[in-house]
Every structure is written in structure tokens, then in C-alpha cells.
């Protein structure tokens, strides 16, 4: 039996259709992840707002689809897990001056982690989702590989770099070989009540508010700490009302010099925003933390690969090595714009995900480790 994680959207619904058509025994599971009551107590307007992946509307849609397909369907309540592994770290990350990527945390630590377990508990040996990605077992490596979805425009492998070998061995991505138009067509043909539903874009629990707003609401009073805006040389050129309102690369309208200025660095301890010119945003080296390796067991020798530092960015050639203190260091061949702490860096060999980690620290000094080309 395969447990299909159903979000109520077209993609996961179509995943269910395809499995059913392939004759698999399937059961639908939806995760209730967030309740706006947790931050927005007493604000009726927000409570009533219909929204994205965490809202009841989506769970209802998932239930309608399941009933349309005649498959059993259950809602798992993972609100506590979601809050502690996604929402709190998201807020903490902003307050540390980073720009977090909560959907990846959610995939790793909530969706796959709990789904695989829950599925096993109810007798399902595999879990399917509507992600555009592919899984393959490589005999020669003896490892499970994660590959980009065939539709490069929709590919979601970037969000899945944290999957472990055990999770990959139990995962099915029925949409991996399909394009979005093909998926919509299948959904329409299957008569899914949701075939023309809009796609979710926002971070589900933030819904319509600004991130800064959410962070302040969740963290409560005291999260808005005013501080200085400075140049790279340390000259104070302005003030800010909280570092969580900034992200690296963001244009900051200080044009004293006549040239556009950007946030080049956020300094949490000094509570400062550093601004500079566009060229100053370009860096080559950074370290990653909490890495996960898929195509390889670990980084021992330096490797060559393409590294993607944000969703939808083009991956760029780089060397990845382990420094003396055990840190994983990424060094691009050419400087890259706006390498942002808190975002994920995912390593690729063509379509194959080598592994990845969270961007931690941008090193300013470009020093070259010796690199062996694979």
C-alpha cells in the first residue's frame, strides 16, 4: 500500500490519480500543519482568511479529491511538530539576520519524517507526494538517488535535498517524468474537482502578511530592535527598526553616492545592516551547516559540482571541500550575487542531487583550497 500525501492541490491529487490508474492500493493522508490561532489570537479577520497549504480549505479539497477517487483518506494533525520544527526556527532565523527557507525544513523534518513513520504504522510501505522530482536506485553506488524533475521549470529537487537514504527508499514521485501542463490535463481528464486550482506561492503560515509582520507577531514584543545602517567602512548612514526586515541583495534606497545601494550583509550581533554597491554583493566562498548527502556518503576529498543557492537560481560551477575544522566549504569558480545565510545550497551533477546544506557564513577572503576534479 502507498500513502499519498495530499495537500489539496492539483499536483498531489494527480499523483494519486496516477497511482490509482497504475493499480496501486492507495490511502490519502493530509497534514494539518498550522492553525492561525497560534499567532493571530483574537484577530477574526485573519482567522477567517482562507489560505494556502495550512488551511482547512485545502484539507477539504484533498478530501473531495479522495472521495472522488474512492480512496480512503485521513487527516494527520502535525501542528505541534510543524510549529517546533518549522515556524519557530523560521522566526529565530530571521531574528538572527538570516533569510530562512521554511518549505525545505517542512519537507525534511515534518512531511517526510513523520509521513514515512505514520505510513508504516498504518501498513503503507511507501509514501508518494506530488513533487516534481525523481528517485532512482543506483546499483553501482548502492545508493538511492534524487534527480531533478523532468520538467526543469517545475523541478522541486532543491526543496528535497534533506531526504535520507531511508526516506528516499520509501518515496515515490509519480509526477517526476511529467510537465505541469500534462499534469493539469491528467487532472482534468480524471474529473478532479480541483484541476484548475491556483498554485500556492506563499509560505503557507505567513499568508498575506509580510514576513516581518509575522515574525514580530510570533516573537512578541521586543523583537523590533532598532539599529544602524552602515557602509562597509562602518560609516553610519541611516537607521533600521529590526534586522528581520532585511534580506541580502535587497535594494536599499540610499543613493547618497548616486549609485543604487543594496543590503550586502546583516550583522546580528552588532544589530547592523551593511549596505554597499552591487559589486560588493558578489562573493565566492561560503560554508554550509547541517548538510545531507545523497549521491555520496560524505565529502572527504574535494569535489566539483554545480551549486544552486536559491530556488529558481541557475546552479553554478563550484568546488566543495571539507576544511580543517570539519566545515563544508563551497567555492564558486566565479563570484555569485547575494549568497544568503539561511537559504539552502544544493549540489548537483547535472540532474542528480549530490547533497546540500544550509548557507551559514560568507567568507570574504578568497583563499583557494586544492581541488581534485572528478
Amino acid at each position: 500500500m502507498i500513502a499519498v500525501a495530499m495537500s489539496g492541490g492539483v499536483d498531489s491529487s494527480t499523483a494519486a490519480v496516477l497511482l490509482k490508474e497504475a493499480g496501486e492500493e492507495i490511502v490519502g493522508l493530509s497534514m494539518q500543519l498550522w492553525n492561525q490561532r497560534r499567532v493571530l489570537q483574537g484577530e477574526d479577520e485573519d482567522l477567517k482568511r482562507a489560505g494556502r497549504c495550512c488551511s482547512l480549505d485545502d484539507i477539504w479539497d484533498a478530501r473531495r479529491v479522495a472521495s472522488h477517487l474512492g480512496m480512503p483518506f485521513y487527516v494527520l494533525n502535525l501542528e505541534n511538530e510543524f510549529e517546533s520544527t518549522v515556524v519557530s526556527p523560521f522566526v529565530a532565523s530571521y531574528l538572527r539576520g538570516e533569510t530562512p527557507s521554511p518549505c525545505i525544513l517542512c519537507n525534511n523534518d515534518v512531511k517526510f519524517h513523520h509521513l514515512v513513520d505514520k505510513a508504516a504504522g498504518i501498513g503503507a510501505d511507501k509514501v508518494a507526494t506530488g513533487h516534481y522530482a525523481r528517485v532512482r536506485h543506483d546499483e553501482s553506488l548502492g545508493r538511492w538517488l534524487l534527480l531533478r524533475g523532468k520538467d526543469r521549470g517545475k523541478d522541486q529537487s532543491y526543496f528535497l535535498f534533506g531526504l535520507t537514504q531511508n526516506q528516499l527508499s520509501k518515496t515515490v514521485f509519480p509526477l517526476g517524468e511529467l510537465s505541469k501542463p500534462e499534469v493539469r490535463e491528467i487532472a482534468r481528464r480524471a474529473g478532479l474537482p480541483t484541476y484548475d486550482k491556483a498554485e500556492s506561492q506563499e509560505i503557507c503560515f505567513v499568508q498575506g502578511r509580510s514576513y516581518a509582520d509575522f515574525v514580530e507577531k510570533y516573537a512578541g514584543t521586543g523583537s523590533e530592535k532598532p539599529g544602524d545602517i552602515v557602509t562597509k567602512e562602518g560609516e553610519v548612514v541611516g537607521s533600521h527598526t529590526g534586522i528581520h526586515k532585511f534580506t541580502v541583495g535587497q535594494r536599499k534606497g540610499h543613493v547618497a553616492t548616486g549609485r543604487p545601494q543594496y543590503v550586502v550583509k546583516i550583522e546580528p550581533f552588532e544589530n547592523r545592516i551593511v549596505i554597499g554597491n552591487d559589486p560588493e554583493l558578489h562573493e565566492r566562498r561560503f560554508t554550509i551547516r547541517d548538510s545531507n548527502w545523497i549521491a555520496i556518503e560524505n565529502v572527504t576529498e574535494p569535489i566539483r559540482c554545480d551549486v544552486q543557492i536559491r530556488n529558481r537560481f541557475d546552479p553554478q560551477p563550484a568546488s566543495v571541500s571539507r576544511s580543517e575544522d570539519g566545515k563544508i566549504v563551497v567555492e564558486f569558480d566565479k563570484p555569485q550575487r547575494a549568497i544568503t545565510p539561511g537559504q539552502a545550497a544544493v549540489l548537483y551533477w547535472d540532474d542528480v542531487v549530490v547533497g546540500g546544506g544550509w548557507i551559514e557564513r560568507i567568507a570574504v577572503r578568497p583563499e583557494r583550497p586544492s581541488v581534485k576534479t572528478l
Binding site: 490511502v27 494539518q32 480512503p72 485521513y74 487527516v75 494527520l76 494533525n77 501542528e79 505541534n80 513513520d117 505514520k118 508504516a120 504504522g121 498504518i122 501498513g123
Partner: protein, 366 residues
């Protein structure tokens, strides 16, 4: 019920013949419900279900008696319909004493006696608990309420139709009934209101149901509830003993085949159809889903709180830890349950429990 949808379209408040016909059908249903609990026909008010019955009883008395006092006594294991209503009244300035229960899930009438104060206006104690099925000593509490001249409401949603109910003997002033708990329709219920009881209606409007519940009657629902009440009364002596035997067979069978399971409320007087089974080291949600996939519909906690992360307040009140509460299954039987059904559960549950225990990080250590 069906003729109400297809032939009898009358509004029971109208003078014309169509309306008269509907009114007759309602009163016919009223007398059937009254008969089931030994009330007089005029003491039955129809409304939308158990929840509304509880609300009308508690809020109605709270409003009508507030000049006398604002103290209410209830238990810690009431259904949410009572519990949340009392909590809401607390916010409005009423004082509520929440009586604890024993490990078997029983209220000690002595505790009610001791909780009484000069400003007490209402005691609300459920007849049988919806999660563990324990039957409270309503008659003794009724005597205490009568002696103290305090109104007494009992939520009889679970007990009605499963054990004999005589509102005169129980000395209750108000008694809640829900249609769908006796194989009647959902969204229909009744409140017994003893003659002479003064309570303020929840609904204002055209003064239906003798000014106790305004709003055009749900004729089909009421007719269905009436018929369900009639059948339930007949089944009390014929069906319920059989159901109880099946329940006992289920519990004995499961205990023989699964180690480390316990029946909550086992030593208390219980409804014949309810079994609440605590399975150590097996996660409740997994149990429920696995059983459902095998065609067995059970729940953890009360139906209203599934999907919620709060452990059942009933199981917590009988001393269970949140983990124990989450690992408890509520199995409900009815007159339609067969011996094959029971044997099927006894057959499939052990494998499910074993699978879930294999995944439990705590089980292996034991």
C-alpha cells in the same frame, strides 16, 4: 421520515390542514420520546440535537435563576457541549465547581453534596459518559438536588435507548436526548423539561415549541427521532442484553490475544454498548486508521475531538497520562453489531497493535 419529504409539506404552525397534519406528526413523535423516558408529552421540547439541549438547559437556567445565585456544579468528564457551555458561563461571571471522578470514572454524590452552596442554582451531571460509558449515580444526585432545591440537568444523550430511563425516578428537571445516538437522524434532538421549570429560551422568535424553542420545526428530523425512540424502547429488553454479551465477548477476546491492554472504567456500571480500551505502546491515531482501513470504524476520545492534539479530558480525569489517553480506543456497538463483527475485530486488531508497537521507541525497552 420519508413521507415528510415527499407528501407532507405542511408547516406545523399553520392553521390549515397541511399544517395540522405536520403538527400531529410532531406530537405523535413527542409522545414516543416522552414514553421512552417516562415523561409527559408536554415536557418534551424538540430542537437541533444534544448540543442544543445541553445549551438550553444550562444557559436557560443560568439566565432564569441569576437573581438567586450564580453557582453551577458539574463534573470533569462532561461532553464538550456541557463543558464549554459552563466555561463560557464562567467568563460571564458564573462560578462553576468541577467535580472530579474516581479512577473508574464515577462521580461521588457526596462530593456534590459538599459542593452545594446557598447560591447554587444548577447541577449538571451526565447520565452515561460518551467515551468510557460509565453510568453515574443520577438517582442519588437527583435526591440531593431535590433536597437542596437546586435544578438538576442530566445529559442523557448516551444513556437514552441503551438503559432504561425514568426521569421521575431519577428526579431530573432536564434531560438531553440526541437523535443520532439512537439510530435516529442527525440534527434532531430533544430536551425533557419538567413541568414548572422556568428557563429562558436560547432562541427568540415565533414562539414555537410552547415558547421554548422558536423556529419552524424540523418535521422530518422530529418524526425520525420519534420513530427511533419507539424502536429503542422495544429494544431495551431484547437488544441491549445481546449487545452487552457481544461487548463482553469483544473485551475478553482482545484481552486474551493482546498483552498490555486495559479496559477503562471496567469496574464501574457501564453502558452495554461501550468499550474503551487502552493499548499500551501503540499510537492511537495509527490504531484508528489501521482499523478503518480494515473496515472497522472506531475512534480515540470523543468524535468531536479527533484530530485534536489535546488528550481526552475524560481519560485525563480518570488519571491517564496524555500518552495513555492518545492510545485509547473507543469501540461502540449497537443493536446492528453481529458476532461476526466482533470476531473480526478480535482477529485483526492484534496484528495492527503488533505493527504499531514495533514502531514505538518505548515498546522494545519493556
Amino acid at each position: 421520515m420519508m413521507p415528510v419529504f415527499t407528501e407532507h409539506f405542511g408547516n406545523a404552525s399553520s392553521i390549515h390542514w397541511f399544517g395540522q397534519q405536520a403538527k400531529t406528526m410532531i406530537d405523535d413523535a413527542r409522545s414516543k420520546v416522552a414514553k421512552l423516558i417516562n415523561a409527559e408529552t408536554s415536557e418534551i421540547v424538540f430542537l437541533s440535537g444534544g448540543t442544543e439541549a445541553d445549551n438550553l438547559a444550562i444557559r436557560g437556567i443560568a439566565e432564569s435563576q441569576k437573581s438567586r445565585g450564580k453557582h453551577i456544579i458539574t463534573s470533569q468528564i462532561e461532553h464538550h457541549a456541557v463543558m464549554h457551555t459552563c466555561k463560557d458561563l464562567e467568563k460571564q461571571g458564573y462560578e462553576v465547581t468541577w467535580i472530579p471522578v474516581s479512577r473508574d470514572g464515577l462521580v461521588d454524590p457526596g462530593n456534590i453534596q459538599r459542593a452545594l452552596r446557598p447560591d447554587s442554582i444548577l447541577i449538571s451531571i451526565m447520565h452515561a459518559n460518551n467515551e468510557i460509558g460509565t453510568i453515574q449515580p443520577i438517582e442519588e444526585i437527583g435526591a440531593i438536588a431535590e433536597a437542596a432545591d437546586v435544578y438538576f440537568h442530566s445529559d442523557g444523550v448516551q444513556s437514552t435507548g441503551k438503559i432504561p430511563v425514568d426521569v421521575r425516578r431519577l428526579k431530573v428537571d432536564m434531560y438531553s436526548i440526541s437523535g443520532h445516538k439512537i439510530h435516529g437522524p442527525k440534527g434532531a434532538g430533544a430536551l425533557f423539561i419538567r413541568k414548572g421549570t422556568i428557563l429562558k429560551p436560547l432562541m427568540t422568535g415565533g414562539g414555537h415549541e410552547r415558547n421554548r424553542r422558536s423556529g419552524t420545526e424540523n418535521v422530518a428530523g422530529i418524526v425520525g427521532l420519534g420513530e427511533a425512540a419507539r424502536l429503542a424502547r422495544l429494544g431495551l429488553s431484547t437488544e441491549m442484553p445481546r449487545v452487552e454479551a457481544l461487548r463482553n465477548r469483544l473485551e475478553a477476546g482482545l484481552k486474551a490475544r493482546i498483552e498490555m491492554i486495559h479496559v477503562n472504567g471496567e469496574d464501574a456500571p457501564r453502558l452495554p454498548n461501550t468499550s474503551n480500551i487502552m493499548v499500551d505502546f501503540a499510537e492511537g491515531e495509527g490504531l484508528v486508521i489501521s482499523l478503518d482501513l480494515k473496515g472497522v470504524a472506531v475512534s480515540t476520545g470523543s468524535a468531536c475531538s479527533s484530530g485534536s492534539l489535546e488528550p481526552s479530558h475524560v481519560l485525563t480525569a480518570i488519571g491517564k497520562t496524555p500518552d495513555e489517553a492518545h492510545g485509547s480506543l473507543r469501540l461502540s456497538l449497537s443493536a446492528l453489531t453481529t458476532e461476526e463483527d466482533i470476531d473480526y475485530v478480535i482477529h485483526v486488531l492484534p496484528g495492527i497493535v503488533e505493527r504499531l508497537r514495533e514502531l514505538s521507541p518505548y515498546y522494545k525497552k519493556v
